[in-house]
Symmetry: C2
Subunit: 178 residues, 2 copies
DNA sequence: GCAATTAATGACCAATCGGTCCATATATCA
DNA sequence: TGATATATGGACCGATTGGTCATTAATTGC
């Protein structure tokens, strides 16, 4: 997964994968079918990790606003400095393979939808608790937040400082949280 | 430019470029040096086009809020349906080559910075005209908007409907415009 | 301990990659 | 027109691509 993550699909060659998996050519093909199969598995794992993390951050048993702050803090962490440079397997894949591979499309679309739903739920709970700014609608705000964090990952490629990223997130949050 | 745009750098092979340019192999190398040189030129053109468009949309002689709406409407257009599928050469390049090619980094970083400045200027003018919501600070709001529109391009890969994209943009604008 | 089966290996393959180079047109000037 | 300079074309190159397969090693069942 890490190899695809830091290089992208096309830029990752078989030797890279062999080294990363400690497998020989034949074994790799016996186990995963082909390069695409291995990539799809890596993508699945990346998505599962991400969704699990979001579930923890936005745990319904916790305070929704604190959860949203933790969720965004994670993105600040992952999009500043050296972490930002590493990028995001999902965004990179969306841009590189999106619209060209149906299996990839399914996964990308599913991830965005799942994340949007989780964020919308957290926002709904925040709204019920009276912690949202006046007029904020959870569903559209969730879509907006998803766009924002994915944009953070793109801009993160330019190595913004942590404080810059954090300030940007704060400026957003301030508009939505009472 | 169009070939790189719709396929990405690595996925674009020499034959694709020869067909797109109507040049022979030798002529192409005489004119551009190598594949990377041609790509850099294409990227420069893409960036110049984008910045010019923004300058028109956010023309200081026009109403700043109307300009911002036009600016975002352009992104709605480019990120919904089939247009969204085409993606964005800049975002795709940032994810594919960002952090690996200094010349690419310079261009990507410069573009984001330039766009941020232009948006910040428009926001400043809007604020001076009393058209911004209370407490909105142009500089951080501009960074936020840049992240948002780049995120739109990523999510646009999943073919959202025009009305969905528009509603998301409206939800954002509503928080910042009085 | 031996035979049968499974798993791992790396030599090997055709195709394609980006890039070079020379032979041939085409244009320029005397 | 003839000589020279420039621009074009595509055959060719070694390296690398993703993928296969016969051989070898390890494991399993008896």
């Amino acid at each position: 997964m890490n190899v695809f993550w830091s290089r992208g699909y096309h830029a990752t060659a078989l030797p890279d994968l062999l080294q990363a998996t400690n497998l020989s050519r034949g074994s790799l093909y016996a186990a995963f079918g082909d390069k695409r199969g291995l990539f799809l598995r890596a993508l699945d794992r990346y998505i599962a990790d991400a969704l699990l993390r979001i579930d923890i951050e936005l745990d319904p048993r916790g305070a929704p606003v604190a959860g949203l702050r933790a969720y965004l803090a994670g993105y600040v962490d992952r999009t500043s400095g050296a972490n930002g440079r590493r990028g995001c397997l999902l965004v990179a894949t969306a841009m590189e393979l999106g619209g060209r591979d149906p299996e990839v499309d399914r996964r990308i679309g599913g991830f965005f939808k799942a994340m949007e739903t989780k964020v919308a739920n957290a926002l709904s709970r925040a709204k019920a608790a009276g912690e949202l700014a006046h007029g904020v609608e959870p569903a559209s705000a969730a879509r907006l937040l998803v766009c924002f964090v994915e944009g953070l990952r793109v801009v993160g490629k330019t190595r913004p400082t942590r404080s810059t990223s954090q300030a940007t997130v704060d400026a957003l949050l301030e508009r939505f949280i009472r």
